[in-house]
Subunit: 208 residues, 2 copies
DNA sequence: ATGGCTATCGTTAGATG
DNA sequence: TCATCTAACGATAGCCA
């Protein structure tokens, strides 16, 4: 990986001209993926990589025409976000996809699996009304949960736990659907953490 | 890993019997950031870049120790997500940071990067498309859920699944204590919330 | 915090199995 | 569909203004 061979790297400009030449830059150095200790370096890294991440997200949304959202809190706790078509829309859609049906709210009786080829327009209209109602209910529920949390006494040592549990609770109601999604997300995460496990041979320690 | 050059040399005979040196690969080609027309290429691009985006997000969260979440809907409307410390936590925190300014879903003032909202027509079209997508996804989810539930044991609990995933993945990982710790904490959170649910807050589907 | 620079590292388009 | 390979392209660590 590190050693560049004669195939393409045929440029030895500065080094070959002189035995001692101070390079203008060391270029990009390899770093381990672990918390950066130096405060200023960490801040700079965040600024640059945040932009890079948003750019990647933008490219993905355009290239593939998909909806996505990225939410980031800076080291200074400041929120940054990027979304296509918009952050709130994507969040809403995501939450809706988690709650799915059943258990969410009073399910309209007409909401059931319909034959795809049966008066698509009428069916779509009914379903759309249904979804709108669900979105509205979801909105109210969120407000209730948030307002329920706010009046809590901050001196409670478990405030963090309550806060953390709040959103998870929302998603928990999705049941199996949610479990599957969460597991998927955690599988993704683990595969990222583990790095290159499936390439077969890795340095047994794995993980840089 | 290092036999790349050796294997490359081995395959040279193909090129040598022709006066035209055929490269084994054109390598990465430059592409414009615009919707990819070919359906298959778009799908492939999504798969690759989604992984890349999640990896970048993971690196940012670790390097800078920040909270973040990424929500993506595939071209097939399937939701993918990555979050540190967890998607729901980050969403909740983000919404909370927004609610201090406005009521529910208005766009946040701090949005630096945001697709320009066009005229009302475009907005309506987007909403319509979005709703239709949701309807499609909802239908598919329902079918998957039902077909998954019917032949299987309907009483799969969150704890069970989380536990299995934890043990399995930890074993798989082997050396990453931090991941195990994270998952342990996640499991505890799940069980705690299950307890909360049981005490009456959101009892929906007999999830356990 | 932003922006530019450079050398280097990491990502990925296109082709292939 | 999904993994792999290659070479080119893009992102960025470290340094400075």
């Amino acid at each position: 990986m590190e050693e560049i061979n004669a195939s393409a790297a045929t440029k030895i400009p500065v080094a070959s001209r002189s035995h001692v030449i101070k390079k203008k830059s060391m270029g990009r150095q390899k770093i381990a993926i672990e918390r950066i200790q130096r405060e200023d370096a960490r801040q700079v890294c965040f600024s640059k990589r945040r932009v890079g991440l948003f750019k990647k997200a933008h490219e993905l949304s355009v290239l593939c025409g998909v909806h996505l959202a990225v939410l980031v809190f800076s080291p200074a706790k400041k929120p940054f976000s990027f979304g296509h078509p918009s952050v709130p829309q994507v969040i809403e859609r995501f939450l809706a996809s988690q709650s799915s049906n059943k258990s969410d709210l009073p399910l309209p009786p007409h909401h059931r699996i319909m034959p795809p080829s049966h008066d698509a327009n009428a069916a779509l209209n009914r379903e759309m009304a249904d979804l709108k109602a669900r979105i509205e209910a979801s909105r109210k529920r969120k407000q209730m949960l948030e307002s329920a949390l706010r009046p809590k006494n901050p001196s409670i040592s478990n405030a963090d736990v309550a806060d953390l549990g709040l959103a998870d609770l929302c998603m928990l109601k999705g049941g199996l659907d949610r479990v599957c999604t969460d597991l998927e997300a955690y599988k993704e995460r683990l595969m990222l953490e583990a790095g290159i496990m499936h390439t077969g041979m890795v340095s047994s320690t794995g993980l840089q």
